[in-house]
Point group: C2
Chain length 154, copies 2
DNA sequence: ATCTAATTGCAACTAAGTTGCAACAACTTC
DNA sequence: GAAGTTGTTGCAACTTAGTTGCAATTAGAT
Protein backbone atom coordinates (compact mmCIF):
# COMPACT_ATOMS: atom_id res chain seq x y z
CA UNK A 1 0.00 0.00 0.00
CA UNK A 2 2.87 2.41 0.64
CA UNK A 3 0.41 5.25 1.25
CA UNK A 4 1.39 5.53 4.89
CA UNK A 5 5.10 5.67 4.14
CA UNK A 6 4.48 8.32 1.52
CA UNK A 7 2.62 10.66 3.86
CA UNK A 8 5.35 10.11 6.40
CA UNK A 9 7.99 11.05 3.89
CA UNK A 10 6.19 14.31 3.16
CA UNK A 11 6.00 15.09 6.88
CA UNK A 12 9.64 14.30 7.42
CA UNK A 13 10.70 16.48 4.53
CA UNK A 14 8.76 19.43 5.88
CA UNK A 15 10.02 19.16 9.42
CA UNK A 16 13.58 18.64 8.21
CA UNK A 17 13.14 21.97 6.44
CA UNK A 18 11.68 23.53 9.58
CA UNK A 19 8.52 24.48 7.76
CA UNK A 20 5.11 24.10 9.34
CA UNK A 21 3.29 21.03 8.13
CA UNK A 22 0.22 22.64 6.63
CA UNK A 23 -2.25 21.01 4.29
CA UNK A 24 -1.22 23.30 1.47
CA UNK A 25 2.44 22.45 1.72
CA UNK A 26 1.75 18.76 1.91
CA UNK A 27 -0.46 18.95 -1.18
CA UNK A 28 2.25 20.74 -3.13
CA UNK A 29 5.00 18.37 -2.04
CA UNK A 30 2.88 15.34 -2.85
CA UNK A 31 2.30 16.54 -6.38
CA UNK A 32 6.01 17.15 -6.87
CA UNK A 33 7.02 13.80 -5.42
CA UNK A 34 4.60 11.95 -7.67
CA UNK A 35 5.57 13.84 -10.82
CA UNK A 36 8.30 12.41 -12.98
CA UNK A 37 9.62 15.68 -14.27
CA UNK A 38 10.07 19.20 -12.84
CA UNK A 39 6.85 21.22 -12.56
CA UNK A 40 5.94 24.88 -12.86
CA UNK A 41 3.81 26.71 -10.31
CA UNK A 42 1.02 26.72 -12.84
CA UNK A 43 1.14 22.96 -13.31
CA UNK A 44 0.83 22.56 -9.57
CA UNK A 45 -2.13 24.93 -9.53
CA UNK A 46 -3.89 22.66 -11.99
CA UNK A 47 -2.80 19.44 -10.31
CA UNK A 48 -4.18 20.55 -6.96
CA UNK A 49 -7.41 21.93 -8.45
CA UNK A 50 -9.70 24.58 -6.99
CA UNK A 51 -9.79 22.99 -3.59
CA UNK A 52 -5.99 23.26 -3.54
CA UNK A 53 -3.82 26.09 -2.29
CA UNK A 54 -3.95 29.58 -3.70
CA UNK A 55 -1.59 30.50 -6.55
CA UNK A 56 0.31 32.89 -4.33
CA UNK A 57 0.75 30.26 -1.68
CA UNK A 58 2.16 27.92 -4.30
CA UNK A 59 4.68 30.50 -5.47
CA UNK A 60 5.72 31.26 -1.91
CA UNK A 61 5.87 27.61 -0.89
CA UNK A 62 8.02 26.62 -3.83
CA UNK A 63 10.40 29.42 -3.05
CA UNK A 64 10.66 28.62 0.65
CA UNK A 65 11.14 24.91 0.03
CA UNK A 66 13.84 25.63 -2.49
CA UNK A 67 15.51 27.93 0.00
CA UNK A 68 15.31 25.22 2.64
CA UNK A 69 16.94 22.81 0.21
CA UNK A 70 14.21 20.20 -0.16
CA UNK A 71 13.37 21.41 -3.67
CA UNK A 72 15.64 22.44 -6.50
CA UNK A 73 15.00 24.80 -9.33
CA UNK A 74 15.48 22.77 -12.48
CA UNK A 75 17.74 24.11 -15.16
CA UNK A 76 15.35 24.08 -18.13
CA UNK A 77 14.54 26.62 -20.79
CA UNK A 78 11.04 27.99 -20.57
CA UNK A 79 9.12 31.05 -19.56
CA UNK A 80 8.39 29.75 -16.11
CA UNK A 81 10.45 28.23 -13.35
CA UNK A 82 10.36 24.50 -12.71
CA UNK A 83 10.86 22.80 -9.37
CA UNK A 84 11.56 19.23 -8.38
CA UNK A 85 12.34 17.32 -5.19
CA UNK A 86 15.98 17.52 -4.17
CA UNK A 87 16.39 13.80 -3.58
CA UNK A 88 17.77 12.09 -6.70
CA UNK A 89 20.42 14.78 -6.83
CA UNK A 90 23.89 14.33 -5.46
CA UNK A 91 25.67 16.89 -3.33
CA UNK A 92 27.47 18.59 -6.17
CA UNK A 93 25.21 17.90 -9.10
CA UNK A 94 21.54 17.59 -9.99
CA UNK A 95 20.64 14.73 -12.29
CA UNK A 96 20.67 15.87 -15.92
CA UNK A 97 17.48 16.91 -17.66
CA UNK A 98 16.89 15.77 -21.18
CA UNK A 99 14.69 17.89 -23.42
CA UNK A 100 13.47 16.23 -26.61
CA UNK A 101 13.57 18.51 -29.64
CA UNK A 102 10.95 16.31 -31.27
CA UNK A 103 8.11 16.24 -28.77
CA UNK A 104 9.31 18.90 -26.34
CA UNK A 105 9.05 16.63 -23.32
CA UNK A 106 11.47 16.86 -20.44
CA UNK A 107 12.88 13.65 -18.95
CA UNK A 108 14.77 13.38 -15.69
CA UNK A 109 17.77 11.16 -16.29
CA UNK A 110 18.25 10.09 -12.73
CA UNK A 111 20.58 7.27 -13.69
CA UNK A 112 22.80 9.02 -16.19
CA UNK A 113 26.19 10.10 -14.90
CA UNK A 114 27.95 13.19 -16.10
CA UNK A 115 31.53 13.74 -14.99
CA UNK A 116 32.17 17.01 -13.18
CA UNK A 117 33.74 19.79 -15.19
CA UNK A 118 37.52 19.92 -15.09
CA UNK A 119 40.20 22.32 -16.28
CA UNK A 120 38.61 25.47 -14.90
CA UNK A 121 40.32 28.81 -15.26
CA UNK A 122 42.42 29.56 -12.16
CA UNK A 123 40.56 30.68 -9.06
CA UNK A 124 37.09 29.42 -9.84
CA UNK A 125 35.69 27.08 -7.19
CA UNK A 126 32.87 24.87 -8.42
CA UNK A 127 30.26 23.88 -5.87
CA UNK A 128 27.49 22.55 -8.07
CA UNK A 129 27.03 21.62 -11.69
CA UNK A 130 23.81 21.41 -13.67
CA UNK A 131 23.47 19.80 -17.05
CA UNK A 132 20.80 20.12 -19.67
CA UNK A 133 20.77 17.74 -22.59
CA UNK A 134 18.98 18.24 -25.86
CA UNK A 135 18.22 15.60 -28.46
CA UNK A 136 15.74 12.91 -29.36
CA UNK A 137 13.92 10.73 -26.87
CA UNK A 138 13.48 7.01 -27.63
CA UNK A 139 9.99 7.47 -29.14
CA UNK A 140 10.91 10.39 -31.40
CA UNK A 141 14.13 8.71 -32.41
CA UNK A 142 12.21 5.64 -33.53
CA UNK A 143 9.79 7.75 -35.61
CA UNK A 144 12.73 9.51 -37.25
CA UNK A 145 14.30 6.20 -38.21
CA UNK A 146 11.11 4.91 -39.78
CA UNK A 147 10.79 8.08 -41.81
CA UNK A 148 14.32 7.66 -43.15
CA UNK A 149 13.76 4.05 -44.13
CA UNK A 150 10.74 5.13 -46.17
CA UNK A 151 12.61 7.87 -47.99
CA UNK A 152 15.58 5.65 -48.72
CA UNK A 153 13.33 2.97 -50.16
CA UNK A 154 11.96 5.25 -52.88
CA UNK B 1 41.88 49.91 -35.16
CA UNK B 2 39.88 46.75 -35.89
CA UNK B 3 36.69 48.82 -36.21
CA UNK B 4 36.33 47.99 -39.86
CA UNK B 5 36.74 44.26 -39.30
CA UNK B 6 34.18 44.40 -36.52
CA UNK B 7 31.50 46.05 -38.63
CA UNK B 8 32.25 43.57 -41.35
CA UNK B 9 31.79 40.68 -38.94
CA UNK B 10 28.38 42.01 -37.96
CA UNK B 11 27.38 42.28 -41.62
CA UNK B 12 28.58 38.81 -42.39
CA UNK B 13 26.73 37.32 -39.46
CA UNK B 14 23.49 38.94 -40.55
CA UNK B 15 23.72 37.90 -44.16
CA UNK B 16 24.74 34.38 -43.20
CA UNK B 17 21.50 34.30 -41.22
CA UNK B 18 19.58 35.71 -44.20
CA UNK B 19 18.35 38.62 -42.15
CA UNK B 20 18.21 42.14 -43.57
CA UNK B 21 21.09 44.28 -42.42
CA UNK B 22 19.18 47.02 -40.67
CA UNK B 23 20.61 49.57 -38.28
CA UNK B 24 18.64 48.10 -35.41
CA UNK B 25 19.94 44.59 -35.89
CA UNK B 26 23.50 45.78 -36.23
CA UNK B 27 23.19 47.78 -33.02
CA UNK B 28 21.88 44.76 -31.14
CA UNK B 29 24.53 42.40 -32.50
CA UNK B 30 27.30 44.86 -31.72
CA UNK B 31 26.23 45.10 -28.10
CA UNK B 32 26.15 41.31 -27.80
CA UNK B 33 29.51 40.83 -29.47
CA UNK B 34 31.16 43.35 -27.18
CA UNK B 35 29.58 41.97 -24.01
CA UNK B 36 31.48 39.33 -22.07
CA UNK B 37 28.47 37.55 -20.70
CA UNK B 38 24.97 36.72 -21.97
CA UNK B 39 22.56 39.66 -21.97
CA UNK B 40 18.83 40.06 -21.43
CA UNK B 41 16.58 42.05 -23.75
CA UNK B 42 16.37 44.69 -21.07
CA UNK B 43 20.13 45.03 -20.79
CA UNK B 44 20.27 45.59 -24.53
CA UNK B 45 17.54 48.22 -24.29
CA UNK B 46 19.71 50.12 -21.83
CA UNK B 47 22.93 49.55 -23.74
CA UNK B 48 21.45 50.95 -26.94
CA UNK B 49 19.76 53.89 -25.21
CA UNK B 50 16.76 55.88 -26.39
CA UNK B 51 18.14 56.34 -29.87
CA UNK B 52 18.36 52.55 -30.10
CA UNK B 53 15.76 50.11 -31.34
CA UNK B 54 12.37 49.71 -29.75
CA UNK B 55 11.93 47.09 -26.99
CA UNK B 56 9.66 45.02 -29.18
CA UNK B 57 12.19 45.05 -31.99
CA UNK B 58 14.83 43.83 -29.59
CA UNK B 59 12.67 40.93 -28.43
CA UNK B 60 11.86 40.01 -32.01
CA UNK B 61 15.42 40.38 -33.22
CA UNK B 62 16.85 38.23 -30.46
CA UNK B 63 14.34 35.54 -31.24
CA UNK B 64 14.95 35.58 -34.99
CA UNK B 65 18.72 35.57 -34.58
CA UNK B 66 18.48 32.66 -32.18
CA UNK B 67 16.28 30.83 -34.67
CA UNK B 68 18.78 31.53 -37.42
CA UNK B 69 21.51 30.11 -35.20
CA UNK B 70 23.78 33.12 -34.82
CA UNK B 71 22.69 33.62 -31.20
CA UNK B 72 22.11 31.10 -28.44
CA UNK B 73 19.84 31.29 -25.48
CA UNK B 74 22.02 30.93 -22.43
CA UNK B 75 20.71 28.69 -19.71
CA UNK B 76 20.97 30.75 -16.64
CA UNK B 77 18.52 30.97 -13.81
CA UNK B 78 16.74 34.30 -13.70
CA UNK B 79 13.46 35.87 -14.57
CA UNK B 80 14.50 36.88 -18.06
CA UNK B 81 16.08 35.13 -21.01
CA UNK B 82 19.73 35.73 -21.86
CA UNK B 83 21.29 35.64 -25.29
CA UNK B 84 24.88 35.46 -26.50
CA UNK B 85 26.68 35.10 -29.82
CA UNK B 86 26.89 31.51 -31.03
CA UNK B 87 30.60 31.63 -31.83
CA UNK B 88 32.63 30.34 -28.87
CA UNK B 89 30.32 27.33 -28.74
CA UNK B 90 31.18 24.01 -30.31
CA UNK B 91 28.76 22.02 -32.42
CA UNK B 92 27.46 19.88 -29.59
CA UNK B 93 28.01 22.07 -26.57
CA UNK B 94 27.88 25.71 -25.52
CA UNK B 95 30.71 26.87 -23.30
CA UNK B 96 29.77 26.51 -19.63
CA UNK B 97 28.41 29.44 -17.66
CA UNK B 98 29.68 30.01 -14.19
CA UNK B 99 27.42 31.79 -11.73
CA UNK B 100 29.08 33.09 -8.58
CA UNK B 101 27.01 32.56 -5.44
CA UNK B 102 28.96 35.37 -3.80
CA UNK B 103 28.50 38.30 -6.15
CA UNK B 104 25.89 36.87 -8.48
CA UNK B 105 27.92 37.56 -11.59
CA UNK B 106 27.86 35.25 -14.59
CA UNK B 107 31.12 34.35 -16.30
CA UNK B 108 31.46 32.68 -19.67
CA UNK B 109 34.09 29.98 -19.32
CA UNK B 110 35.03 29.82 -22.97
CA UNK B 111 38.17 27.86 -22.25
CA UNK B 112 36.86 25.30 -19.81
CA UNK B 113 36.17 21.86 -21.18
CA UNK B 114 33.40 19.65 -19.94
CA UNK B 115 33.26 16.07 -21.19
CA UNK B 116 30.02 15.09 -22.88
CA UNK B 117 27.57 13.06 -20.86
CA UNK B 118 27.94 9.32 -21.14
CA UNK B 119 25.95 6.28 -19.98
CA UNK B 120 22.59 7.50 -21.15
CA UNK B 121 19.50 5.35 -20.76
CA UNK B 122 18.89 3.31 -23.94
CA UNK B 123 17.38 5.16 -26.87
CA UNK B 124 18.21 8.74 -25.95
CA UNK B 125 20.21 10.56 -28.63
CA UNK B 126 22.10 13.59 -27.34
CA UNK B 127 22.60 16.44 -29.78
CA UNK B 128 23.68 19.24 -27.50
CA UNK B 129 24.72 19.65 -23.91
CA UNK B 130 24.64 22.78 -21.80
CA UNK B 131 26.34 23.18 -18.47
CA UNK B 132 25.80 25.65 -15.68
CA UNK B 133 28.33 25.86 -12.87
CA UNK B 134 27.78 27.41 -9.51
CA UNK B 135 30.42 28.38 -7.00
CA UNK B 136 32.83 31.15 -6.11
CA UNK B 137 34.60 33.37 -8.61
CA UNK B 138 38.27 34.25 -8.00
CA UNK B 139 37.46 37.57 -6.29
CA UNK B 140 34.81 36.18 -3.96
CA UNK B 141 36.95 33.15 -3.19
CA UNK B 142 39.79 35.43 -2.11
CA UNK B 143 37.51 37.42 0.19
CA UNK B 144 36.23 34.19 1.75
CA UNK B 145 39.75 33.03 2.47
CA UNK B 146 40.68 36.28 4.18
CA UNK B 147 37.60 36.06 6.35
CA UNK B 148 38.54 32.55 7.45
CA UNK B 149 42.09 33.51 8.32
CA UNK B 150 40.73 36.22 10.58
CA UNK B 151 38.33 33.90 12.39
CA UNK B 152 40.95 31.19 12.83
CA UNK B 153 43.36 33.69 14.35
CA UNK B 154 41.04 34.52 17.24
C1' DA C 1 -6.68 26.28 26.63
C1' DT C 2 -4.03 30.14 25.34
C1' DC C 3 -0.62 32.46 22.87
C1' DT C 4 2.40 33.83 19.14
C1' DA C 5 4.70 33.80 15.10
C1' DA C 6 4.40 31.66 10.70
C1' DT C 7 1.26 30.92 6.93
C1' DT C 8 -2.49 31.84 3.85
C1' DG C 9 -5.68 34.25 0.58
C1' DC C 10 -7.17 38.31 -1.51
C1' DA C 11 -6.48 42.26 -4.33
C1' DA C 12 -3.68 45.10 -6.51
C1' DC C 13 0.66 45.51 -8.72
C1' DT C 14 5.23 44.91 -11.42
C1' DA C 15 8.04 42.60 -14.83
C1' DA C 16 8.76 40.08 -19.03
C1' DG C 17 7.23 39.04 -23.22
C1' DT C 18 3.62 38.89 -27.22
C1' DT C 19 0.38 40.35 -30.91
C1' DG C 20 -2.10 43.13 -34.52
C1' DC C 21 -1.52 46.55 -37.45
C1' DA C 22 -0.08 50.53 -40.07
C1' DA C 23 4.17 52.90 -41.57
C1' DC C 24 8.60 52.18 -43.36
C1' DA C 25 13.02 50.64 -45.44
C1' DA C 26 16.17 46.92 -47.42
C1' DC C 27 16.89 44.42 -51.26
C1' DT C 28 15.09 43.07 -56.07
C1' DT C 29 13.61 43.93 -60.66
C1' DC C 30 13.12 46.46 -64.40
C1' DG D 1 18.15 54.79 -60.52
C1' DA D 2 12.92 54.60 -59.89
C1' DA D 3 9.34 51.45 -58.63
C1' DG D 4 7.80 47.44 -56.39
C1' DT D 5 7.56 43.85 -52.91
C1' DT D 6 8.44 41.71 -48.86
C1' DG D 7 10.58 41.74 -44.52
C1' DT D 8 11.13 44.93 -40.57
C1' DT D 9 9.89 48.38 -37.20
C1' DG D 10 7.24 51.04 -33.65
C1' DC D 11 3.16 51.87 -31.24
C1' DA D 12 -0.52 50.49 -28.28
C1' DA D 13 -2.86 47.18 -26.13
C1' DC D 14 -2.58 42.72 -24.13
C1' DT D 15 -1.10 38.23 -21.82
C1' DT D 16 1.64 35.58 -18.69
C1' DA D 17 4.54 34.94 -14.70
C1' DG D 18 5.57 36.35 -10.49
C1' DT D 19 5.48 39.80 -6.30
C1' DT D 20 3.84 42.63 -2.37
C1' DG D 21 0.99 44.54 1.51
C1' DC D 22 -2.18 43.38 4.60
C1' DA D 23 -5.76 41.31 7.34
C1' DA D 24 -7.45 36.74 8.71
C1' DT D 25 -6.13 32.24 10.07
C1' DT D 26 -3.73 28.27 12.02
C1' DA D 27 0.33 25.14 13.44
C1' DG D 28 2.96 24.27 17.06
C1' DA D 29 4.86 26.14 21.60
C1' DT D 30 3.80 27.15 26.53
Amino acid sequence: MMKFAFKEKVDKLLSSARLKRTGQRKAILEVLLKANSPLTADEIVHATGNTGPNRVTIYRTLESMAEAGILHKAFIEGRSRCYEPADKCSENQCHPHFVCTGCGQTHCLTDATVPMATSMPAGFIIKRQQVRLEGLCPECNMTENKRHMHNDGK
